[in-house]
Amino acid sequence: MTILDGYEMVVGLEVHTELKTVTKLFCGCANAFGSAPNTNVCPVCLGLPGSLPVLNRGAVELAMAIGTALGCSILPSSFHRKNYFYPDMPKDYQISQYDEPINVGGTLELPDGSTVRIERAHLEEDTGKTTHVGASGRIHGAERSLVDYNRAGVPLVEIVSAPDITSAAQARAYAAELRSILVATGASDGRMEEGSMRVDANVSVRRVGDATLGTRCEIKNLNSLRSLQRAVDHEAERQSELVAAGGRVVQETRHWDEVAGTTVTMRSKEEAYDYRYFPEPDLLPLVPEDPWRDRVAAELPALPAARRTTLLALLGEPTPSQRDQVLSVVELGIDAMVTSAVSSGVDPARALSRVANEVAALNGAETLGVDDVVTVLSMEQAGELSATHAKAVLADLVEHGGDPRELAKRRGFEQLDASSLDATIDEVVASFPDEWTRYCQGDDKLAQFFVGHVMKQTKGQADGKAVIAGLASRRSR
């Protein structure tokens, strides 16, 4: 499933991200996911007659942080009304930024070194959510529709890329990197599945070497990075086959069907709305004064690219698989565990491997406290915990929380100190003189035999590697 030979794809992405503010964009209602329907509402976000919007400066700061992180110019901006009728939009218009967005121009550099230009990143309000009750689950044929306005007025930033993306894998990498940046700035939790980050893809194809762009289609309903990559690939294939067969691509909005693995028509250009944008008279122009802009820039935390550079530097000469691990821990936002562990004396390769493999595999890894992970890795480094036990303690931390040393003690994982381990090895060696002789004569397979007995005696608290080392040193004496 991919584009035909002789064709290339041109892709631009529009990413909507909900901002993690305490309150909504234009009122004091809580910006919270998962509340009972229509509990986080007031006259303003319900658009009741006579109500007026007041801009939330916290949302503006997060938008400025996003713009700064993407290298955009942060400019004086204004709000417009985007008019169209829809029941989950209380005022039947959306307050959005139109010809004067807050963030303009910018660049996103991907881990592979390629760059994608950012056209704009503007502020707007989210809509409510409609549930159609009835056989089809779609608006047509529904028995009734229920609207929840908790999400209405939640702040969004829409980040529009230039059509610089040339493959489905690059589209995925762009969305992944952008997500890491949004999470790093604290602007968003970046959860595509919950809809807090939503990606639409504009896809067109052309013959390799053609200067003009082909007709594009906008693909919606991309609920994961995987869907994005599959959908772009599929759409490029569909369009290239269509063009190769002498057909013409029709400009339209298409819906990605995850199960069928295809895109289907949602609405054509002829059905497109005339939004009748005009300046929002209820809001003043937004002027980000220099000190404000400077403070936001100064408070910006380290971004993913810089964090990858830091990790790679710690490793010295990283292997290809370590490079992949660096990518993945930064993408998951758990790289601080590695750098902190290293500065506490843990070996960089071990720290990276533990975090990229064991920690990353845990469900809820990002909820682990960095200090707790560092404690566990340091205990392992010091030989106080075996690898197996370190993993078990990490899993306990995710599940129950608490102090890692306490958790280790409760599980009975307190590692044997060196002298009692030595005593146990001596005891086991003495109990099996024949096997010991054969081992000393070079039958290395017997090492596991002795390890097994030591483990049995210590109820699993011994470190296997330490036992083997102890056996080897006795043999060489």
Binding site: P43, L46, G47, L48, P49, G50, S51, L52, P53, V54, L55, R81, N83, F85, P87, P90, K91, D92, Y93, I139, H140, S145, V147, D274, R276, Y277, F278, P281, D282, L283, L284
Partner: protein
């Protein structure tokens, strides 16, 4: 008739009670409203309990505020918690807002007693109060005539003595024109001086709330109470209410007042004569009177009838039958929207929604809405130029005295011309006041309009006070 200031003073001194005044107002409404239809809803219980609170405060030695016990009429596009608020439209019939407009909260805080909600042209779109879904209001001076509009209900309520103060909203003259036609004072403050929070929007960049009263002093007291920054309205000025009462008698000595030709063009001879007489009063009080022309004002009406409908088409989109007010059931969502809006809105509202939708449409925006905004800028600049030569401007409020019911209902353009002198102030955002100034040839009241630059309310009110004192009796 007693002024609001005198009434409040007697309540504060214990010479009368808020309950007595409120009962008097309610009785006057009960007696007169059948003929006038000034009130759409009378809130007897709410008024009496507010009055009881004021009386308790007086009994406890507290000061209930500068409007203690003064009955007030609210135009029915101001939201009042739990009290029906319709904007005179079927589409909001029965709706009870869950919140109260900032201006009403401030009036209550000053001891005023809101007695009810007054009639208006539907969504404040009109100049005669005939566009109300609940029947027209009649002019107290002649029941065969209109009270003007859109704040016709508040104007009639004040003029007939039902209440000493009414609140209105002015988008293109909707306070000043009915005030003139009913013979009362009407103020359109500087845009942003009074919070719009809780005012059902018609055209957000033009709407401004203001008082209708029987004296300039009462208007000053009321405006002091309702003005001042409100954090819930982003367009509200970042400054406290001006002190108007203290400078009310400052006079106009040494001021320059310009008689504006365009604010008299097309006025009836009796109106023109009144404006000239008012200029003489100002001259006698020590002002220099000059005559000027501001040709750009002629463009105001056209620009207004693009900008106001454009904003209205968006502001009125929310009346879709989904959340509140009228819903006419239909087979699907779109048809429900269409059926609800078809039945819920009157002709004039539909006309303006269509005008505005057209003006904002792709391909027409620049030619209509964009151009109207450029005219608006031009007009504001022209006003600023005039204020380089004069401190205040004077002109007519309306071209004629009150016209007969039905006289202009079939000719929207003739109706729109009723606001030709008032619209420019809304476009520029500057303050203006109309003061009763004698009668027309038909014996009906006439108003003269004073205009000033933004935030010049103190000067405008001082000049209005001079006119009031010098008006023919």
């Amino acid at each position: 008739m007693t002024t609001a200031i005198e009434l409040a003073d007697s309540v504060r001194r214990g010479e009368t009670t808020a309950t007595t005044l409120t009962e008097g107002s309610l009785a006057a409404i009960a007696a007169g409203n059948g003929a006038l239809n000034a009130f759409l809803h009378v809130d007897v219980d709410g008024a009496l309990s507010a009055a009881a609170r004021v009386d308790r405060a007086v009994a406890n030695g507290e000061d209930p505020g500068p409007l203690a016990g003064v009955p007030i009429a609210l135009k029915d596009n101001l939201c009042t918690r739990g009290v029906p608020t319709t904007a005179a439209s079927r589409i909001l019939e029965g709706w009870r807002p869950p919140y109260t407009a900032t201006v009403v909260d401030r009036l209550l805080g000053a001891g005023a007693i809101p007695v009810g909600k007054t009639n208006l042209d539907e969504f404040a779109m009109g100049s005669s109060t005939e566009n109300s879904a609940f029947g027209p209001t009649r002019n107290p001076h002649d029941h065969a005539r209109v009270p003007g509009g859109s704040s016709g209900g508040s104007a009639a309520a004040v003029a007939s003595g039902m209440v000493p103060i009414g609140l209105g909203s002015d988008t293109g003259g909707s306070i000043r024109q009915p005030a003139a036609l009913c013979g009362v004072v009407g103020v359109k403050p500087t845009y942003g001086m009074v919070s719009r929070y809780g005012l059902i929007a018609f055209a957000s960049s033009l709407d401004q709330i203001g008082p209708l009263t029987r004296s300039v002093a009462d208007a000053a007291v009321c405006l002091e109470v309702i003005a001042g920054h409100d954090p819930r309205d982003s367009t509200s000025l970042q400054e406290p209410a001006p002190s108007l009462v203290a400078s009310l008698h400052d006079g106009v000595e040494g001021r320059t007042v310009a008689l504006v030709r365009e604010l008299l063009d097309g006025a009836a001879p009796d109106v023109e004569a009144a404006v000239n007489a008012s200029a003489a009063v100002l001259r006698d009080a020590g002002a220099t009177v000059i005559e000027i022309s501001i040709p750009e004002l002629r463009l105001g009406l056209s620009a207004y009838y693009l900008i106001a409908p454009a904003e209205a088409s968006s502001n009125l989109a929310r009346y879709d039958g989904v959340r509140y007010g009228l819903r006419v059931d239909a087979d699907d969502l779109t048809m429900m929207n269409v059926a609800t809006r078809t039945k819920g809105f009157g002709d004039e509202v539909k006309r303006r929604i269509m005008l505005g939708t057209y003006a904002l449409s792709a391909g027409y925006y620049d030619a209509y809405y964009g151009r109207a905004q450029r005219v608006r800028t031009l007009l504001s600049r022209a006003f600023a130029g005039a204020y380089g030569r004069a401190d205040l401007l004077v002109g007519a409020t309306a071209p004629t005295t009150a016209f007969e019911l039905g006289a202009k209902t079939t000719d929207p353009m003739a109706m729109y011309l009723s606001d030709v002198y008032t619209i420019p102030s809304n476009l520029s955002g500057d303050p203006a006041i109309t003061v009763p100034f004698g009668s027309g040839a038909d014996g009906l009241p006439l108003g003269v309009q004073l205009l000033g630059p933004a935030r010049s309310e103190r000067l405008v009110f001082a000049a209005a006070q001079v006119l009031e004192e010098g008006a023919p009796r």
